[in-house]
Subunit: 342 residues, 2 copies
């Protein structure tokens, strides 16, 4: 089993490339710092649909069908589609993808979904079970807000630590044929629960899970933080990012130079009033498929560690007084096979 480097990390031995990516983002996201990296920016929250849930499904369908056509493939060329989202019973995904006629594996990783789908998809390709795999996820501010918190019409106050669920969907096509960027290593998270119970402080709940996964990645690959041009967590937000830097410092890893968080990049917290930053499955999905993929193709980034983070709670578990189990999955991406150590 020479693919296994340790308890949590495997090496992808056959080349697996991200051959295309596509995304769509909401109006507010389109007014933020990453606007230039979105394929489509919605002009309102509904996009012509009767309900926000249908809008979210439409976004996910848009992202994945565009990623497929950009790869010059047809639906029938995609062997598996891996998808999930935040809505109860993952309905954004099942309704978005029901007409595609592609074998479907639904996943639930909360906001870690983009990394989870890429992890499993890469292993299915490397394992010889697929040539092309689609990975997609989404979130929508309005569907998440009313499901997890309050009806939007209620106009509830937000706490200073609260994050803003990103309206957006991102998809990638992974392939065994392609010339990069390559998925080179996968470090799969264990569930970490440090006892934090404040559902308005998800960054603090998720940062320890991110730190455990990142530490495992460094130990098992023998890499140091400096190996990467960018280490990118999913949606720890401003507070969680600072906790993450502290935790990794305690483990002896200095993240101050090349670490960032999608939730910090996607909004200008001050001018956009997003408090602790962005969150949601779509936050890391649109940042990866837009910003990261674009900088890699421009040669500005070569080695990236993409680590999406998820809080595995529900409103029911919170009402029952439970703490917040969290998880983080890391995917190492390299623009060349040489740098990937293959």
């Amino acid at each position: 089993m020479n693919k296994r480097l340790g308890n949590q990390t495997v090496k992808i031995l056959n080349p697996v490339s991200i051959i295309s990516a596509a995304n769509v983002a909401g109006k507010k996201e389109g007014e933020g710092p990453l606007a230039m990296y979105f394929d489509k920016i919605l002009s309102d929250a509904a996009w012509g649909e009767e309900t926000w849930e249908k809008t979210e499904s439409k976004m996910q369908n848009f992202a994945v069908t565009n990623a497929i056509s950009r790869a010059n493939l047809k639906n029938s060329d995609i062997n598996y589609i891996l998808a999930g989202d935040l809505l109860n019973q993952c309905i954004s995904s099942s309704f978005a993808l029901r007409d595609l006629n592609i074998p479907f594996f639904g996943v639930y990783g909360a906001c870690s979904t983009m990394a989870e789908t890429i992890s499993l998809g890469s292993m299915l390709i490397d394992g010889g079970f697929a040539e092309n795999v689609a990975a997609v996820t989404s979130s929508h501010f309005c569907t998440a807000e009313r499901q997890y918190r309050q009806p939007l019409e209620y106009g509830g106050q937000r706490t200073p630590n609260a994050q803003w669920t990103v309206t957006g969907s991102g998809a990638v096509i992974l392939s065994g044929s392609g010339d990069g960027p390559y998925i080179t290593h996968i470090t799969t998270g264990e569930i970490v629960d440090m006892g934090i119970k404040d559902a308005n402080n998800m960054g603090a709940a998720m940062a320890p899970a991110a730190a455990e996964t990142l530490k495992a990645h460094f130990v098992e690959t023998g890499r140091q933080p400096s190996y990467y041009d960018l280490i990118l967590t999913g949606d720890l937000g401003i507070l969680g990012k600072s906790i993450m830097i502290d935790l990794m410092g305690d483990y002896g890893y200095d993240l101050r130079d090349n670490y960032d968080d999608c939730g910090c990049l996607i909004f200008d917290a001050e001018s956009q009033d997003t408090h602790a930053g962005g969150s949601g499955c779509g936050c890391s999905a649109v940042t990866l498929t837009g910003y990261v993929m674009s900088l890699i193709s421009q040669g500005k980034l070569k080695n990236v560690l993409f680590m999406a983070t998820g809080a595995l709670l529900s409103p029911t578990s919170t009402l029952q007084g439970e703490s917040i189990p969290s998880i983080a999955h890391a995917v190492a991406i390299s623009s060349s096979r040489e740098d990937s150590g293959l």
Copy 2:
């Protein structure tokens, strides 16, 4: 890619065995026809917990920890755990497994979860990424009823087509070392939505998805129904089973001799007043880990096609007037490598 037999079916080339299984079932299930196959039968719905959600997590933890110890393994020997359930945000799984320290992939396949976790787990082992994988799921009548339908205290009437969510959890350990029963083929479902909108008639919604997956399995493997000693769907129930037989008859396959459904086997519909039969992730999980595994070990079954079925709806999608997207995943199990065609 000689592992791929067709659009939906792959062959497992390296041996993957189910080296252990364990389950736990509720009181009503313990009064039914499969009682003798359960490792533990609860005496009430709470099992000493304050909420039914915590009970369901406890059941899932019980099933997986017992499966691990029966395999003479430690948690640290399990490379991945794949799990999911019906509750919003899959909290039965995340809370059940948070203390195990095993890399975790959460899945959402509704009641198809047991087949989905075994499918992905088998591919991770065959692909060289894991030696041992745990697959587990659960459902609980009381958590499902209040989430999907009405508060139990409301005492709502049940329609004749309604099914009864099974209280139960089942887990298996898959391994690259073992002497069977072997996972030999995996046929992954596409989402099928025939426009049925009655959330009290899930069997009718899911039967077409099961028929499409089963037809693909026969076409792509070249097998006929008679190859199997038992073809077993997950929770189509009494009505769905009869639709399934009709649909497959239309496709030219006679299922009358060796086909059954876990939802029909688990309860005595007449004496137990369960209307159209059992349902829920736990329905197929306890039937597989109890009844099927037991008959295989006794030599009474050699080749089994296990096909769990899922309805990918939510109460929100139903309220919004949507139909019910459905899916079915099939896993071929053989007691000997010879019969598996390897």
